[in-house]
């Protein structure tokens, strides 16, 4: 129970602390807005066009691959605790070798298809 309270306090009080310091800064700092101050920085000239553009779909492949491997790693964590103790024997290790080999074949396929090249 205590650990959950600590984490909750860290999140809530951390955000409160940040807001406190930001409001202190707001009290201390001058506020003189002008039209030019609000321009986004683009090496001194007025910004051309909007920056919120569409992205290449190539990044999507990275995201999918990331999700696949991230979930695989989540499976590896409980396995690592079990595999560390000697009582679990060789079978658990062979199982994971098979599992990781299948994923490595998948990675090799993605590599061959050029999905791992950043454009």
């Amino acid at each position: 129970m205590f650990e959950q309270v600590v984490i909750a306090v860290f999140i809530i009080a951390g955000a409160a602390f940040a807001c406190l310091v930001l409001s202190l800064s707001w009290l201390l700092s001058p506020t003189k807005p002008t039209k030019d101050k609000g321009l986004t920085y683009e090496c001194g000239v007025e910004p051309i066009g909007r920056p919120w553009v569409r992205f290449r779909p190539g990044y999507f492949v990275y995201a999918i691959l990331f999700v696949i491997f991230d979930i695989e790693v989540i499976f590896l964590f409980p396995w690592a605790i079990a595999a560390g103790s000697a009582v679990t024997g060789w079978f658990i290790i062979i199982e994971m070798v098979v599992f990781v080999t299948i994923l490595l074949i998948g990675l090799a396929y993605a590599w061959k298809e050029g999905a791992l090249n950043w454009h």
């Binding site: 930001l22 707001w26 101050k37 609000g38 683009e42």
Partner: protein, 332 residues
């Protein structure tokens, strides 16, 4: 004592550590990078320029806080807090001594990495909400870097977990105190962990997110005053978190070899902090001596080198560990 009050005291203690480590790392970075570049660094205010931090903080506090005209204002104001809070919470899981750990959870390793993963989310929010081309490119690169190095980072913490048989950071430290530092059997993991930590903290040679010569200041281009201060503080505090995590997992945490871990007393946090600063010094020397990677080379390094290597290394390590256990009995 009331649990909420106790938790709040822990929070204040951790905020103090975060501030002090952030300030000292900024000073150290200036001096170490200056020495690496054959410059002098700050030398005017106070002995060896150590008081330079005071006017820096005053300046950050009293500057005008403005936001760009077209920006997504709510998200823009929220982003520094999204970056700061998970970084602060990550401190809660680091054991500073036998009982000096704010949240001694069984899933410690996973929790600390989970909170560190939230930081790129705040970085992307900051870059997107700024409505600035440089900021957006920086933010996209930051997400790309995060998804590239997340997996080798997670895989490189597996060998210490196997050796300790636990994900609790305090138990990992005690397992090293009773045996040997985990860097000895798991050296490749320690090296990969440090490479990924270098990326996780946005430091050269992996600082594409804020590459000064290409992107002005990356995702934080449009930030000023204390909002920028929080982004800055979180970044340097992240340095300390990653170094302390590396020390905890691979270099014995708050213990020293040959000394009974329960007689460390007040020296335990000092040992952890000194070891962490040695690791931070290593980060800074790498930062001072290597030039920046290109974005596509960074992605290739992560996906084509580190991920296959760490996956195979984890299996090799598991097989080796089981072979040693079979040959020399379960105690090994």
């Amino acid at each position: 004592m009331n649990v909420w009050l106790q938790a709040l005291l822990w929070m204040l203690f951790v905020v103090t550590i975060m501030m002090v480590s952030g300030a000292s790392i900024i000073y150290m970075l200036r001096k170490v990078l200056a020495a690496a570049h054959l410059r002098i660094g700050p030398n005017t205010l106070g002995p060896a320029g150590i008081l330079q931090l005071v006017p820096d903080v005053i300046k950050l506090l009293t500057k005008e806080d403005r936001h760009p005209n077209f920006s997504d204002k709510g998200l823009y104001c929220l982003a520094p807090i999204i970056i700061f809070v998970p970084m602060l919470t990550a401190f809660a899981f680091i054991p500073f001594g036998p009982t000096m750990v704010a949240a001694n959870v069984n899933m410690g390793v996973m929790m600390i990495l989970a909170f560190l993963t939230l930081v790129p989310l705040g970085v992307f929010a900051a870059g997107w909400a700024s409505h600035n081309k440089y900021a957006l490119i920086g933010a996209v690169r930051s997400v790309g870097a995060a998804i590239t190095f997340e997996i080798p980072l997670l895989l490189s913490v597996l060998p210490p977990i196997m050796l300790a048989g636990s994900m609790n950071l305090s138990e990992i430290v005690l397992a090293q105190a009773n045996g040997f530092w985990f860097v000895i059997p798991a050296l490749p993991s320690a090296v990969i962990f440090l490479i990924c930590a270098q990326m996780e903290t946005n430091q050269a040679p992996f600082d594409m997110t804020e590459a000064e010569s290409e992107l002005v200041a990356g995702f934080s281009t449009e930030y000023s005053a204390m909002r920028f201060g929080f982004i800055f503080l979180a970044e340097f505090a992240g340095n300390f978190v990653m170094a302390a995590l590396a020390v905890t997992l691979f270099f014995g945490g708050w213990t020293l070899p040959g000394i009974d871990p329960h007689s460390m007393g007040i020296f335990a946090p000092m040992v952890l902090i000194i070891k962490s600063y040695i690791i931070i010094f290593l980060f800074m020397m790498v930062r001072g001596n290597f030039s920046r990677y290109r974005v596509d080379k960074m992605a290739a390094l992560g996906w084509k080198r580190l991920i296959p290597f760490t996956l195979i290394w984890v299996l090799v390590f598991a097989i080796g560990l089981r072979a040693v256990q079979t040959l020399f009995g379960a105690g090994a």
